[in-house]
């Protein structure tokens, strides 16, 4: 046996290499080199999902052939019970995919013993002998009562900011450096730590609670040949577990048997990947008959180590001396639910934290915003500034000490010597060098808030606030899916205001991914319904019960007439064949659902491909209702008459053939082959000589369908003669039992039979554009954002969607690059560049002649396909492509693989400093979403992987406009201003302290009390900046949407840049000087005491800083008022409280000084003098070089009344605000 395996191993590998078609079944989504040819509806699917579209019911081809032969032999057409007698035969999966996984499983399944986990079936004791496997109890909570304090502290101190805080606080504890009192220096850090700890503790408590509930759920586990209820947390690897319908699966389980005689189990994976349709899983043939309660099942499963790939599983199982390979279709994962299956029995292989779902539960990726990266540079400048200040102080102190070194002993205000003990000691004097050093450290402590630590905390709070408003925004609320906007990453809100490139997936993102059957071309006649089409629900009555399809489809009355007329007429028979093909040639599973009305039942078609669903629904609407699908037959209700067809063979879809086929045994013993596939692949297997005219007209119809944006499929048919069938059957048998190269053998068998077809017709399926997509794209483009569409669809479809979504316009010059070699790629790229340059110069000269520049550039669109990209990406042609793409206003990439999508994003991201945003909904967009600076997931039809990988998630593409143009703009403006303001606010205070130090022999005395220093950034000035950071709006939503160009402010970095930083710093310098020197000069040589002037400075600087903010607030609502004036009042109250404590030096100072007129005059003078320069500059700037935002603001203010009516009309459908 091992020998055989070895051979097969090498040969299959060889085979795989040759075909360049790597095994689909077991590789993770992200590393799949996409074959650019998944045709219908698959473009946004993961390859692995395709795997699940395998016809579910069949797990043994031999059995099937057995059965079909039987039925043939008996010659009967009655429905008979299928008996499975031949169970000893080799279990062979059916179809090319299955074979693929099988062979692949063999090729890679020689898991090394050290990499494997050995699970003894039904022997948990032996399995867990070495205690290496986790139990099934899960723990999502981080802390226990004992570990909470140390672990929480440890985690909190991961932040650099806190460490800086801590170091400063520790420094301050050294007696030589104690600038602040102990309490005052620890307090802010303690508050922050405490608040965070309480928050963490609460969250953790909730996690504990949910863990407990989860761990105490019950499952039936086989103990001593009996199934007993056991708590989830006690389940061990190796135990046999029995699941019942609608139960949640407690751990990762390899299926052994199910209630279905063929070993099928249906699971819903909504908790895992969000996909609501049922997936099929199989038990192995060999284990099906084992009844755990009776005979002892023994065996050994050797499987890979736990990993987080939910679509991959490799193992083999030794049972009864045989070795079977297990793949991802044999395992059901924790968190899924068992559906439509009475029971299933399996053996636990991964438990608890080693289950795939637990390994996959990780938080959102952490990204850092562009603004924050820039800001860090400025923070370094501030640090240098801080060091400079400290150096100045310590150098001056050194000079002073040097110059007075002879007097130091006796200076009344210094007195170095301590005489109290009789002997003379130096008192707190550590020598000249140390004194300088200590002075330096002390000045670091005093000036610590120069580094705005509070800024980081404020930014976090502001982002939470902004996220709250984004989430609550009713204009980003998707009513159809009842989903709100989600902010998954909390630290890149402001990046949304600077996006320059949007990379969008097409299916499910621009379009709804709800396929709708629109029209059909049957036997050369186009039935597109016209205007007369109606939406009738077709239904059949069975036993007095009404059975109707879940979805209603628009039908063409003429076609409906033909469909009802039966096979008698010629058209009727063509129509019959066509719809029979649609109803039969697919992998859809019909499910009957009860409704509230007991007489009505709905039939729901479950399947992986939305195209197939649409086709089956269409067939049902025309009276060909698929009722039942089992391993060997299907039941179709044709115009009210139930008919049963034997499914003799099914060739699954694969990306090489790009078609699928089914061989049906008719009740009249005739055998027919039905094929459906992409037009390109179908026309190569159609018998051209027959019905030339029909082929030609069909081709013409196909062309018109695809240019109107429909997805097309061609359906063909052939009647097989008995001999042909026999030949095929034996070939098929051989292929499906082959040990090596089974996939390619099956493919070959399929190709051999799929020829000389007679074309039945073609279908047109509409992939409906989502609401508001054209308008949204229009807005984004007007805003200066480049929209690139990356799709797996074919070129014609992509271009037609491009037109319908207004991405492409007729004015545009299109460059289409479809090349098959690197050289031709290079050539077409270079030609395109030359052309685009020519176009640009033409338009330039035209513009110059017209007297303006830049207007009316001929827009250029680039359309490139995946094959060309293969040659371009990762080669020196990338640069050329980038240059070309930069000249183009639209780029459309079709037939691209997921990794290519990421490659294109990287192409732009690495070459420019512009921000990129990727938006998509499917698993194939994950790599692109993660690559881009901002990833947006559409929480739509296709599961949650895109959402899980994204930073923001929302229901519809059109919300992108609100997100970027409105929230992005606001967030960017707010955050940019807030950062600058925080720099200013802290620096002005530090400089104020610094000036005073110059008048105290450089000894770091502060006139402002230490409590005020501490509270300055905590209470006195923190709230307004946060409130303004969350609530201020420079422009209204309406203005921003009306003039998308206003988004350019973010592109031009108008709210935060180097120039603004330095201007702010100069302003800071001036303001601090004013605050300090006006009182200094006014009180020079007076009786003023330190505390009083300190109070004056405190109040002055707080009022100044708040008024500075007030001057820049654009919209004053009551919250802003409350925050700003409230802060000033709170400051006064705090100062009064501090001065009312007799134990502090400044006792009663504020009451004394506030009684003098000089105090108030100083205050007024400080505020006016400090703010005048800023005010003048601001006014000059606003009046004489206004920015766009400024003009729009004025217009908004003064035009609103005049233009209200006009605006209402202009409001575009992106905005239809859901009124309450």
């Amino acid at each position: 046996m091992p020998l055989t395996l070895d051979i097969s191993l090498s040969q299959t590998r060889h085979c795989n290499n040759r075909k360049e078609n790597p095994p689909i079944a077991i590789i993770p989504t992200s590393s799949f080199p996409w074959d650019p040819g998944f045709v219908f509806g698959m473009d946004s699917k993961t390859p692995v999902e395709n795997l699940y579209s395998i016809e579910p019911a069949l797990s043994s081809s031999s059995r099937r052939s057995n059965f079909s032969i039987q039925s043939k032999a008996s010659g009967g057409n009655s429905i008979r019970e299928v008996t499975f007698t031949d169970l000893g035969s080799k279990p062979v999966r059916y179809g090319s995919h299955g074979a693929d996984s099988e062979t692949n499983a063999l090729s890679q399944k020689e898991i090394n013993d050290e990499d494997a986990r050995l699970v003894h079936i039904n022997d948990p004791v032996k399995t867990n002998e070495r205690f290496e496997f986790a139990g099934n109890s899960i723990r999502t909570a981080k802390y226990s009562i004992l570990t909470f304090v140390p672990r929480n502290l440890f985690e909190q101190f991961h932040r650099v900011a806190y460490i800086y805080f801590l170091v400063i606080a520790v420094l301050n504890q050294l007696p030589q450096l104690a600038v602040f009192g102990r309490g005052a220096s620890i307090l802010p850090l303690a508050i922050v730590l405490l608040v965070t700890a309480v928050k963490d503790a609460y969250e953790d408590y909730r996690r504990h609670r949910s863990d407990r509930i989860e761990n105490n759920r019950l499952a039936s586990v086989l103990v001593n040949y009996q199934f007993q209820q056991k708590k989830w947390k006690n389940i061990q690897v190796g135990e046999i577990i029995k699941l019942h319908a609608n139960e949640t699966i407690p751990c990762d389980i390899v299926l052994l048997s199910t209630s279905d005689p063929t070993g099928v189990a249906y699971v819903q994976t909504i908790n895992l990947d969000g996909e609501s349709n049922l997936k099929t899983r199989y038990a192995k043939q060999e284990t099906l008959t084992k009844i755990p309660e009776e005979g002892k099942i023994t065996g050994l499963i050797k499987c890979e180590k736990p990993n987080r790939n939910i679509y991959g599983f490799q193992a083999n199982m030794e049972i009864d001396g045989k070795r079977l390979s297990l793949g991802p279709s044999n395992i059901i994962l924790r968190g899924c639910e068992l559906k439509n299956t009475a029971w299933a029995v399996g053996v636990a292989v991964y438990a608890g934290r080693e289950t795939k779902v637990m390994l996959n539960s990780s938080g959102a990726p952490s990204k850092r915003s562009r603004l924050e990266t820039h800001m860090n540079l400025e923070i370094i400048i501030l640090s240098l500034f801080l060091i400079a200040l400290c150096t100045v102080v310590s150098v001056c102190a050194a000079v002073w000490l040097r110059r007075h070194r002879d007097e130091l002993d006796f200076l009344p205000f210094y007195r170095r010597k301590d005489f109290s003990d009789g002997e003379e000691d130096d008192y707190n004097y550590y020598g000249w060098g140390m004194e300088i050093f200590f002075t330096f450290l002390m000045s670091v402590i005093v000036f610590q808030i120069m580094i705005p630590i509070s800024l980081y905390i404020s930014m976090e709070l502001v982002r939470v606030g902004q996220a709250y408003f984004m989430i609550r925004d009713t204009q980003m609320y998707d009513e159809s899916s009842n989903s709100r906007f989600q902010c998954r990453a909390l630290n890149i809100n402001e990046d949304l205001g600077q996006i320059k490139y949007v990379f969008s997936d097409k299916t499910g993102t621009l379009t709804e991914n709800k396929m709708e059957f629109q029209c059909a071309s049957i036997w050369g006649v186009d039935y597109n319904g016209g205007k007369a089409s109606s939406v009738d629900g077709y239904y059949v009555q069975v036993d007095g019960k009404v059975l109707r399809p879940k979805m209603k489809v628009k039908t063409d009355p003429e076609l409906l007439q033909f469909a009802r007329s039966g096979k008698e007429t010629k058209e009727g028979s063509h129509v019959y064949d066509f719809f029979l093909a649609l109803a039969a040639c697919n992998t859809i599973v019909p499910l009957i659902i009860d409704t509230s009305d007991p007489t009505v039942k709905l039939i729901d078609y479950q399947g992986e491909s939305p195209d197939e669903q649409a086709l089956v629904y269409a067939a049902a609407a025309y009276g060909f209702m698929l009722i039942e699908r089992t391993s060997g037959h299907i039941v179709i209700d044709i115009q009210g008459e139930r008919q049963r067809f034997n499914v003799l063979g099914l060739h699954e879809f694969d990306s090489d053939r790009k078609r699928m086929s089914v061989i049906l045994g008719f009740p009249d013993k005739s055998v027919k082959l039905f094929v459906k596939g992409a037009d390109t692949s179908m026309f190569s297997v159609i018998e051209r000589s027959l019905n030339v005219n029909i082929i030609r007209t069909t081709e013409a119809h196909l062309h018109s369908y695809s240019s109107s944006g429909l997805r097309t499929l061609v359906v063909g048919m052939r009647e097989l003669s008995t001999s042909e069938f026999e030949v095929w059957h034996s070939a098929f048998e051989t292929a499906s039992t082959a040990l090596m190269g089974r996939a390619s053998l099956l493919r070959k068998v399929a190709s051999n039979i799929e020829n000389n077809l007679c074309v039945l017709g073609a279908s047109g399926i509409e992939d409906k554009l989502q609401k508001g997509v054209p308008e949204a794209i229009e807005s984004l483009r007007t805003a200066g954002i480049k929209v690139w569409v990356l799709t797996g669809d074919k070129q014609e479809t992509a271009i037609s969607i491009g037109y319908s979504s207004k991405l492409l316009t007729s004015k545009m010059t299109q460059f289409i690059i479809n090349s098959n070699s690197k050289e031709s790629c290079r050539k077409s790229l270079e030609d395109a560049i030359i052309m685009s340059k020519k176009l640009m110069t033409i338009s330039d000269t035209a513009n110059n002649a017209g007297g303006t520049s830049g207007a009316g550039l001929t827009p250029v669109a680039l359309i490139i396909d995946g094959t060309s990209l293969v040659y371009i990406l990762d080669s020196e042609l990338e640069e050329t492509l980038f240059q070309l793409a930069c000249n183009c206003s639209v780029v459309l990439c079709c037939r691209v693989a997921p990794l290519q999508k990421a490659g294109i994003v990287a192409l732009v991201k690495n070459r420019t400093s512009d921000m990129t945003l990727a938006i998509g909904d499917g698993a194939n967009d994950v790599s692109m979403i993660q690559m881009a600076d901002v990833g947006v997931g559409i929480s739509g039809q296709e599961g949650r992987q895109a959402v899980m990988a994204s930073d923001f998630a929302m229901g519809q593409f059109r919300f992108l406009v609100s997100l970027l143009l409105v929230h992005g703009h606001w967030n960017y403006q707010r955050m940019g201003y807030m950062i600058l303001y925080n720099f200013y606010r802290n620096a002005v205070f530090v400089l104020l302290l610094f000036w005073y130090v110059l008048f105290t022999c450089f000894t770091l005395t502060t006139a402002i009390t230490e409590w005020s220093s501490v509270l300055y950034s905590v209470i006195y000035t923190s709230v307004p900046t946060i409130v303004v950071g969350i609530l201020d709006k420079d422009l209204s939503r309406r203005t921003l949407l009306k003039d998308p160009q206003l988004y350019g402010a973010g592109h031009r970095q108008e709210c935060y840049n180097k120039r603004l930083f330095w201007i702010t710093m100069i302003d800071t310098f001036w303001q601090s000087a004013v605050v300090f020197f006006i009182p200094l000069l006014a009180y020079w040589g007076s009786t003023i005491d330190g505390s009083s002037i300190g109070d004056l400075w405190t109040i002055a600087v707080v009022i100044l800083v708040n008024l500075h903010l007030a001057m820049d607030v654009i919209r004053w609502n009551w919250i802003t008022h409350a925050a700003i004036w409230g802060s000033i009042i709170a400051t006064c109250i705090c100062v009064i409280i501090i001065d009312a404590l007799p134990s502090l030096v400044g006792y009663w100072a504020i009451f004394k000084i506030a009684r003098t007129g000089l105090f108030w005059l100083c205050l007024l003078a400080i505020i006016v003098v400090a703010l005048v320069p800023r005010f003048v500059v601001k006014v000059l700037y606003q009046l004489y070089t206004p920015c766009d935002v400024q003009i729009a603001r004025e217009a908004e203010k003064f035009q609103s009344q005049r233009a209200t009516g006009a605006l209402e009309v202009e409001m575009n459908p992106i905005l239809d605000p859901p009124r309450r």
Partner: protein, 336 residues
């Protein structure tokens, strides 16, 4: 629930809705030229009169400043002033003649002014114990008072550098041979006397150490009544400061000559500090200081000038205003 209640609920709901949609009613001030000019005119109109009033108040204060530290050292000792002032055996008295150049209305405040004296030096500021000042010998945590903490293992009351360096020059004022009455009560803050200095704390061992820094205190008077100490211990903010010595409660006429008999005890020579005696009347503004008045007048007139400049700018370069037509993209489409 009544109708009004429901209405209130609905209002609350819509207010919350407006909040979540960020459409709370708001005022959005926009700077228009009219506003800007008005603001500057207004500032100018306020500041110039206030400045003039302030300036007048400052000018109305009559002040006699006499620096005596250099003059009051007898000629032979001028080379080594420090040893003069430290030598107890040499009499320190000195007489100064102050001529009143303008009528001074009572109360006339007597200040001593020290220059280049860093009362705000960090070591100095910290070297005191507020608790001990209040509680006396009962309080033991006097470590902050170093280096003037103990004398013969007893905590000095009051301890610390600040108290130790108490200013101890004394002044006597004679006009036309009659002594001017100087009121030395109520020179310190009442709040300090009542709450910061103990009523039962007596300076029993003050200034007994080896190194005498400054003034001594009468051990029989509690700290709360030692007003000179209380005044001294309210630390000055700036290195040039005045402290209140007392009040003369008689008016002084023009050309009166006041003879000051002073004891030049306090040592500022070691760090070349200056000592001055100041007699000053007072206004609502406090002492004589023209700075603020001048600043106000300057700022006020600058505002008026700015208002003028903006007015001219507005007339000369009037910006087409309040119309989206002037947004760049609209402008382009206009010209095309």
């Amino acid at each position: 629930m009544t109708d009004t209640d429901q209405e209130r609920d609905r209002n609350k709901e819509t207010a919350f809705y407006k909040f979540t949609q960020q459409t709370l009613p708001a005022c959005k001030p926009v700077l228009t030229p009219a506003w800007v000019i008005t603001i500057f005119l207004f500032t100018g109109c306020i500041f110039i009169p206030v400045g003039l009033v302030t300036l007048r108040a400052s000018r109305s204060v009559v002040e006699i400043v006499d620096r005596y530290d250099a003059e009051c050292v007898p000629e032979p000792f001028r080379i080594d002033k420090v040893s003069y002032v430290q030598d107890d055996s040499i009499p320190k008295n000195c007489s100064r003649f102050l001529k009143v150049h303008k009528y001074m209305k009572a109360p006339i405040y007597i200040y001593y002014q020290l220059d280049n004296y860093y009362q705000n030096h960090r070591r100095y500021v910290k070297s005191r114990s507020d608790q001990q000042l209040l509680h006396g010998r009962k309080y033991h945590g006097t470590s902050s008072c170093q280096p003037v903490e103990f004398n013969n293992d007893h905590a000095i009351v009051p301890c610390g550098l600040v108290a130790w360096s108490l200013f101890n020059d004394t002044f006597k004022f004679i006009r036309e041979r009659a002594e001017l009455k100087v009121n030395r009560k109520n020179i310190a803050w009442k709040s300090d006397r009542d709450h910061k200095f103990g009523k039962k704390v007596y300076p029993y061992n003050f200034q007994n150490g080896t190194l005498i820094g400054g003034g001594k205190l009468n051990p029989r008077i509690p700290l709360s009544d030692q007003e000179d100490l209380i005044v001294w211990m309210r630390i000055s903010a700036l290195p040039s400061f005045r402290k209140l010595y007392g009040r003369i409660e008689e008016d002084l006429d023009v050309d009166d000559v006041v003879v000051v008999h002073l004891m030049n005890n306090y040592n500022t020579y070691s760090f070349s500090g200056k000592k001055k005696l100041v007699l000053s009347t007072s206004s609502w503004l406090g002492g004589k200081n023209d700075f603020l008045g001048l600043a106000y007048v300057f700022v006020g007139s600058s505002s008026l000038i700015l208002a003028l400049v903006f007015m001219l700018l507005h007339l000369r370069y009037r910006r087409p205003y309040r119309d989206t037509i002037y947004l760049p993209w609209n402008r382009k489409s206009l010209s095309v």
